[in-house]
């Protein structure tokens, strides 16, 4: 009986929290099915639902192109980040190259706000002829997320048993071969999780993307949406549909990652 009341209290405390976190997304969904007049009603759900906003957002605003740019730039940037961060974190942790100062320097570089790098990177991209290109954004994101990836990968590397690496070394494998063929497969869940996190960071990024791109061919989705809302004749229904279309890939990844991480950890636990 006591347990019953306790659970009731917990449920009553939890419901408003879940409601608060679900509210903005649910409201976006509701608005995306509202007509222009219905948007002004102030009701939560549409009175007469319309499907017109969804194709409208894709036709009028070039949303598909922005989403393609966002996905291409963030995925390639994420792969570049892993390629740069994996050997470095392995070297610092296991090969004892660089040491404490490099780890501290990496952390402090993460602490600086990105506005610090905005102007210098603008001139660097300009000098390299990479301003207003997707390749330029790939490089910026690929480099900028290395400190994050370094810190995410290190605990995974620390947890792998060093005996396996010693055995590989005794069998004559060099450090690069050990990393790629023995260590990397063991920490694959960690690498995938890190890749997903840095990719999402790039996908969501706005400051650099808004300063380094200025044509529809190169703009990412957050920049596209921000221009959408600067429009005076803004159509809230289309804006909601476009926003949801941009959020969908990240939410799919979030759900996918959830399962991947749990199965990956369970797999490691069994071994």
């Amino acid at each position: 009986m006591r347990l019953g009341t306790r659970h009731l209290w917990l449920a009553m405390a939890t419901a408003p929290i879940v409601g608060f976190f679900a509210l903005p997304i649910l409201y976006l969904v509701a608005v995306s099915f509202k007509t222009k007049d219905d948007v002004l009603s102030g009701n939560f759900w549409p009175t007469v639902p319309t499907l017109a906003n969804w194709p409208g957002a894709f036709e009028a605003a070039g949303i598909a192109g922005f989403i393609f740019n966002s996905v291409a730039v963030s995925v390639l940037g994420g792969l570049l980040t892993i390629a740069l961060a994996l050997p470095s974190s392995y070297a610092v942790l296991r090969l004892k190259i660089g040491g404490r100062w490099l780890a501290d320097l990496t952390l402090s570089s993460y602490m600086a706000p990105p506005i610090v790098a905005l102007i210098p990177l603008f001139f660097l991209l300009k000098a390299a002829g990479l301003l207003n290109t997707r390749a330029g954004l790939v490089l910026v994101y690929g480099f900028a997320n290395v400190p994050v990836a370094f810190w995410l990968l290190t605990p995974f590397l620390r947890r792998t048993p060093i005996e396996i690496e010693q055995a590989a070394a005794m069998d004559g494998a060099g450090p690069l071969r050990t990393l790629l063929q023995i260590v990397a497969p063991i920490i694959a869940p960690g690498i995938v999780a890190t890749l997903i996190i840095v990719t999402v960071l790039s996908y969501n990024e706005f400051l650099f993307a808004s300063a380094f791109t200025f044509s529809d061919a190169t703009r990412t989705l957050p920049v596209g949406i921000s221009l959408f809302q600067g429009d005076r004749l803004v159509n809230f229904g289309q804006m909601a549909a476009a926003s949801l279309a941009g959020i969908a890939p990240v939410y799919l990844i979030a759900l996918f990652m959830q399962r991947y991480l749990i199965s990956g950890l369970a797999h490691g636990g069994v071994k």
Binding site: L10, T14, F21, L23, P24, Y27, L28, V31, G42, N43, F44, L84, A85, P87, S88, Y90, A91, L95, I97, G98, L102, L105, T106, S109, M111, P113, I115, V116, A117, L118, I119, P120, L121, F122, F143, V146, P147, D171, G172, A173, G174, R177, Q181, V200, N204, F206, S210, P222, I225, S226, Q229, F236, M239, A240, S243, I247, V250, A254, L255, Q258
Partner: protein, 313 residues
């Protein structure tokens, strides 16, 4: 599988001997950390040096480095009441909202911990705000707070709380509260996840021992849970502070710094100076001043964290 492994080992052997003869060992070792040195150089070292050079020069976005101007930009920056108040707002915002979110996130994590299995399910649900692009977070909250047809105004009018719509984003204080609310929605889940992890490191036995000793729920929380998570909580606060000082996207989408300059944060102010007014020399000086202020503002929190860590060990 075994055949493949044996093959790999033989390959490794030949690779190793050739590497030994071609590459000097030291250079080979340096190559390992070359990627991260390159990344840090491009994203941190070069920007710092470049900003310092810009801050002492007459520079526009089109034509940088057109002559040395000494400390002129720093003098202008330190006498500019608009920029100084933007810095003040950024610091006050970061310190207060981070503390609020830490408290709220910790309470939710405690709640989720006591919900056991259901708590784990809810964790994956609250993960979603964290993953949402900040621009879209701004759009969603802007739709809720809109004066014409916004959900909040509509609801308040329907229940007779207010006679006519309020322009939440057009009022200096309410606009800040709107930004803080959207920020809280996006980042509290992150704090919940980190606090949940910190709470799960507390050994079960400690609580049971206190229970046997007759400690009530509050005493157990105050004298066992809280001291054990003090160090992680201070580092979570520091992390959220760092994130809060980066505030830009929500300001851009929700208020664009307005009404007037009421919600112009330091980062947003610098962005407009550089990208809209092209005055990168002065923007560089402002960035350096802001960077130093962030360092000073976070120093007490770093010290607090060190204090808790020492006490623990």
């Amino acid at each position: 599988m075994t055949a493949f492994a044996a093959d790999a080992l033989r390959l490794g052997e030949t690779r190793r001997t050739t590497r030994r003869t071609i590459l000097p060992a030291r250079l080979g070792r340096a190559l390992w950390i070359a990627p991260i040195i390159l990344a840090l150089s491009v994203t941190t070292l070069y920007p710092t040096v470049f900003l310092l050079a810009l801050a002492f020069s007459k520079s526009t976005l089109g034509k940088p480095f057109r002559g040395f101007v000494g400390i002129k930009h720093f003098a202008t920056t330190l006498q500019d009441p608009l920029f100084l108040s933007a810095i003040g707002r950024s610091v006050a915002y970061a310190l207060s909202t981070s503390l609020l979110q830490l408290a709220l996130g910790f309470v939710i994590a405690l709640l989720f911990t006591s919900l056991l299995k259901a708590g784990r399910f809810l964790m994956s649900l609250v993960l979603l705000p964290l993953m949402t692009p900040p621009v879209m977070v701004g759009v969603a909250w802007k739709l809720i707070l809109a004066p014409a047809g916004g959900l909040l105004n509509g609801t308040l009018i329907k229940y007779g709380v207010i006679p006519e719509p309020i322009s939440f984003l057009g009022h200096p204080l309410l606009a800040w509260l709107a930004i803080a609310l959207a920020d809280l929605w996006q980042w509290t889940p992150f704090i919940v996840i980190l606090c949940f992890a910190a709470l799960s490191t507390i050994p079960e036995g400690v609580h049971e021992a206190a229970l046997v000793d007759g400690a009530n729920a509050w005493q157990r929380f105050r004298h066992i849970t809280l001291p054990l998570v003090a160090a992680p909580l201070s580092s979570i606060y520091l992390l959220k502070l760092i994130l809060s000082f980066k505030l830009f996207d929500l300001v851009y989408i929700l208020t664009f710094g307005g009404p007037g300059f009421a919600t112009t944060s330091a980062g947003f102010s610098i962005y407009r100076r550089a990208i809209e007014q092209f005055d990168v020399g002065r923007a560089a000086a402002e960035t350096i001043v802001y960077g130093l202020v962030i360092g000073l503002a976070t120093l007490p929190v770093v010290r607090l964290h060190q204090h808790f860590e020492r006490r623990e060990s």
